[in-house]
């Protein structure tokens, strides 16, 4: 439309210049100003949809939720509208996080918390979501701009901060704890945290926060060579945390030594990131709405279209203190868990004849209890399924290091040491 109006203006201009009769100029100018007015209207008033109070299942082209509510009619999801009660925190609004945010926004999620400290730049345009006209904006602001246009029903909170710094981490923690959106909720103020960051440091910070808050989270990642990715479910105390074992990555099949890393830090593809975002949000929906099974770990090797899976139990020697606390709690809660499973099975047994019932959140209870008995199904950190490998080595057990190596004098004053360093620095 904009292009057409511009063309029209140009045509009028040339017509004006070629007209021999000056008496016609006045009326032509009038037409020109009306076209100008139309052009400005077209620019300033994009169509905005209004908020919707209740999700309707009515199939009319004005209902943004009709196709989603159809999931309920078909029996895939028991109660789709519950999605409006859920809060999801997305850490990292890059190639995966921004797409995940858009998917959840279109699905009508209740509330999204967005965290990033970066700005949009032209170098991001090979990925989905951000537009060239958003270059220079913070990723969180640009995301809020686009997402609130797509679906004004979603409550958006944006946090422009770096969660690995002491200050950023504190804000991150308190924002997760805020329960004002759904005061009746147990635990933290969010239902799920999605980690969509691109580095180990930030993942460890998410892990720290989620272990401390006993918050379930989904980790996602795309390899630096852009040809593989993964998602992983982490339930503090119940599954391995991110520090329990060195991070697992999908082997691309390309030899690390032949990989040409000189000159660049990382490659990226909209395809791999889109696939990983899709897998991440699909598992988010399954987790929140209680249908299907949530994958404990799902890898994606795009070169071979291979999807390795596995599950990991927590490491009793994990270096993360909060993880060990959660592990203790999980073991203590085992009798209560068993009783709940039993009660559930008994309650469901007679009703099975009434039709296809959903085994709500089955993965949450039975899958893990199975592997408590069947040790072989849960892989130890040494034996990995085909196609998966560890990204980093395990730390040497420093407790076994002779104490003579570690400095033992702790009666020295910190201020004195600081002065000493400054004295050497100024020499």
């Amino acid at each position: 439309m904009e292009v057409e109006l511009k063309q029209l203006m140009a045509d009028l201009q040339s017509l004006n210049q070629s007209l021999p009769d000056p008496s016609l100029h006045a009326s032509l100018l009038k037409i020109q100003s009306r076209v100008e007015h139309l052009a400005s209207l077209a620019k300033s008033e994009p169509v905005r949809r209004s908020k919707v109070k209740d999700m309707s299942a009515e199939v009319v082209d004005s209902n943004p939720y009709s196709r989603l509510m159809a999931l309920q009619r078909m029996g895939i999801v028991e109660n789709y509208e519950r999605i409006r009660e859920f809060s999801v925190a997305i850490v990292g609004i890059g190639g995966v996080g921004s797409v995940a945010a858009e998917m959840l926004t279109r699905c009508g999620i209740g509330r999204l918390l967005l965290y990033d400290y970066d700005k949009v730049e032209l170098a991001n345009m090979n990925r989905l979501f951000f537009r060239p006209d958003q270059v220079g904006m913070t990723k969180t602001d640009a995301a809020v701009q686009t997402l609130s246009d797509i679906n004004p029903d979603v409550l958006l909170e944006s946090y422009t901060l770096n969660i690995t710094t002491v200050e950023g981490f504190e804000t991150f923690m308190s924002s997760l704890k805020n329960k004002s959106f759904c005061t009746s909720k147990q635990g933290s103020g969010v239902d799920l945290v999605l980690s969509c960051v691109d580095n180990y440091e930030a993942r460890m910070a998410v892990n720290q926060a989620c272990n401390e808050l006993s918050q379930t989270w989904l980790e996602s990642g795309v390899s630096e060579d852009a040809v593989s990715g993964h998602i992983q479910l982490l339930i503090p105390g119940e599954t391995a945390c991110f520090a329990c074992a060195p991070p697992l990555v999908v082997a691309s099949g390309v030899d690390e030594r032949t990989l040409k890393r000189e000159g660049v830090c990382a490659a990226s593809l909209p395809t791999t990131m889109g696939v990983v975002a899709g897998l991440l949000v699909q598992n988010t929906l399954k987790f929140l709405l209680g249908f299907g099974q949530v994958s404990p770990y799902l890898g994606y090797n795009s070169l071979k279209d291979f999807f390795p899976t596995m599950q990991m139990k927590p490491n009793p020697q994990c270096s993360n203190f909060a993880c060990l606390e959660r592990q203790k709690e999980y073991i203590l809660a085992k009798p209560a868990r068993d009783a709940a499973v039993k009660a559930k099975l008994e309650a469901e047994a007679p009703s099975t004849e009434e039709g296809p019932l959903h085994i709500d959140n089955e993965w949450n209870i039975s899958v893990v209890d199975d592997c408590e008995l069947d040790v072989s199904s849960a892989k130890s950190s040494d034996i990995l399924p085909e196609g998966l490998t560890h990204e980093l080595p395990v730390a040497d057990d420093f407790r076994n290091i002779p104490t003579s190596e570690a400095p033992t004098t702790d009666n020295e004053d910190l201020e004195e040491l600081r002065r000493q360093l400054e004295a050497i620095n100024s020499k």
């Binding site: 970066d118 690995t164 981490f169 395990v394 730390a395 190596e405 910190l414």
Partner: protein, 174 residues
Amino acid sequence: MEGWDPNTKSTLTKIPLLGTKAGPRDGAAWTQRLKEEYKALIAYTQMNKSNDNDWFRISAANPEGTRWTGKCWYVHNLLKYEFDLQFDIPVTYPSTAPELELPQLDGKTQKMYRGGKICLTVHFKPLWAKNCPRFGIAHALCLGLAPWLAAEVPILVDSGMIKHKDDATTSTES
């Protein structure tokens, strides 16, 4: 220690190791860790000076010791190139290394993440992970920043991305 040059290797082994596994949120244990950081930094700086290889200055920018600022420099073709150096101690330190930043070089090289964070070699993170919590700030500078400057400054100078400060003055005067 595969993939490291012998010089880096021998320097690294002379920096005192640390013993306390504590991050900035760990209260008194962090104070203890900070003392160890200072001792390692003092020893490393002294060692560089006595080997005539002084190449950085760093000091805590806040009383908590969670933010550090300073300078680092590299000599190429007998000219000294100096850069601001800064980093935060991450909440998950020392499980994760500090991300060293050279803000003046942001956008000038591919070997950098946004914000001027230097892009480390494939060898750095595995070695850091393996040696947690014995490596500290001094080790990160020795293993991370020193090899980065040695590899990148000559490229930046030769490609004209950075100019020596005397060059810059003469060119503006002429």
